[in-house]
């Protein structure tokens, strides 16, 4: 009961939840051999290329690696804001 009350009043997630969240990220890094910095630069490069063809609002873009069983998947959700204003 004590624990239950503590959990309701504290903002910190339980240590088991922290362990799971941390492990999830570590395992994705280990399995893909992709650090979080490399992942950031992958996102930037991807958006650079896409912006040549379509207008993108960088704030609404979501690119993540998700886990499906032991398979990693790169999921990109990129809303198109409109066509790139052509200069010609």
């Amino acid at each position: 009961m004590d624990n239950f009350i503590k959990r309701i009043f504290s903002k910190e997630p339980s240590s088991a939840d922290q362990a799971k969240d941390r492990l999830r990220l570590v395992l994705i890094n280990d399995r893909t051999d992709l650090s979080s910095e490399a992942m950031e630069s992958l996102k930037d490069d991807l958006l650079d290329v896409l912006s040549r063809y379509i207008k993108i609002d960088p704030k609404s873009v979501r690119i993540d690696i998700t886990q499906e069983g032991r398979q990693q998947r790169l999921i990109a959700d990129i809303p198109i804001a409109g066509p790139v204003s052509r200069k010609y």
Partner: protein, 267 residues
């Protein structure tokens, strides 16, 4: 007979590979199977003390591989259970004394006379580990509900799959149901979710395991211990029987178990 070769490995040290090897071996032999447990940790021999056979060693794995003895001379009969044997590791050599192809040849020689060959792998991902998984028909990965152990288990699973040994099955050792309930330990579901392999068994944390290791007797023969029950169930599952996972919520206390027998359990 043609034995199935089962390698127990973990990546991280100290998660319970040797104890699991000794007890799964004991539980299988108790069900009438003929079993040899091989200690593949050359230079760090310890399956012999866990099985309580340290005083009976004459020849070891390296002697057998290098032809200083016949294979059956290196097989030590268990004190308690007929049909259970140990092939001890060498203490004064290192892991380069044996190669993966030596291990395959040795297991092939043993196969016709046994039902199971259990290999206790050393920690790590180097030569000793490669030796241990080379002859495996199936690999069991053992871990604890702890971040470092789970991470290493994931790495090992990746290597085993890359070596085309199939998807290993998981043993989750030292789970403390009380701590899981308080949200202070990864649950079995959490670990299975992260590692995404089939769970073969959960062994609860149990003081009786250390006590039985102190004495050199297998916990799998202790009818009162929950960990012993877990090992007996694992052996049954390996034999293809459909045994549900232990309900660890009931607790391991004597009164809890008595009350659940009479249908007045808390849960």
């Amino acid at each position: 007979m043609s034995a199935k070769v089962l390698t127990i490995t973990s990546g991280k040290g100290g998660v319970g590979k040797t104890t699991a090897t000794a007890n799964i071996g004991a539980a299988l032999a108790k069900r009438g199977q003929k079993v040899a447990c091989i200690d593949a940790d050359i230079g760090l021999r310890n399956l012999d003390v866990v099985m309580g056979l340290e005083n009976r060693i004459v020849y070891d794995l390296v002697d057998a591989v290098e032809g200083r003895c016949r294979l059956n001379q290196a097989m030590i009969k268990d004190k308690y259970i007929p049909g259970l044997y140990l092939i001890p590791s060498a203490q004064t050599r290192d892991k380069t004394a044996v190669s993966p192809s030596d291990m395959i040849r040795l297991c092939n020689e043993l196969r016709s006379d046994l039902d199971w060959i259990l290999i206790d792998s050393p920690a790590g991902i180097e030569r000793g580990f490669k030796n241990a998984i080379a002859p495996a028909d199936e690999v069991l990965v053992i871990t604890n509900p702890e971040v470092s152990a789970v991470r290493d288990a994931d790495r090992i699973i990746g290597i085993v799959e890359a070596e085309e040994k199939g998807s290993p099955r998981l043993l989750l050792n030292r789970l403390n149901p009380e701590m899981v309930k308080q949200n202070n330990m990864l649950s079995a579901d959490d670990v299975v979710d992260l590692l995404a392999i089939h769970l073969l068994g959960i062994i609860p944390e149990d003081k009786a395991v250390l006590i039985s290791t102190n004495k050199g007797t297998p916990i799998a023969l202790d009818e009162k211990s929950l960990a012993g029950q877990a090992y007996r169930n694992i052996a049954q599952r390996l034999l293809g029987e459909d045994v549900p996972l232990l309900d660890l919520d009931k607790g391991s206390g004597f009164f809890n178990r008595i009350s659940s027998v009479f249908g007045s359990g808390e849960k």
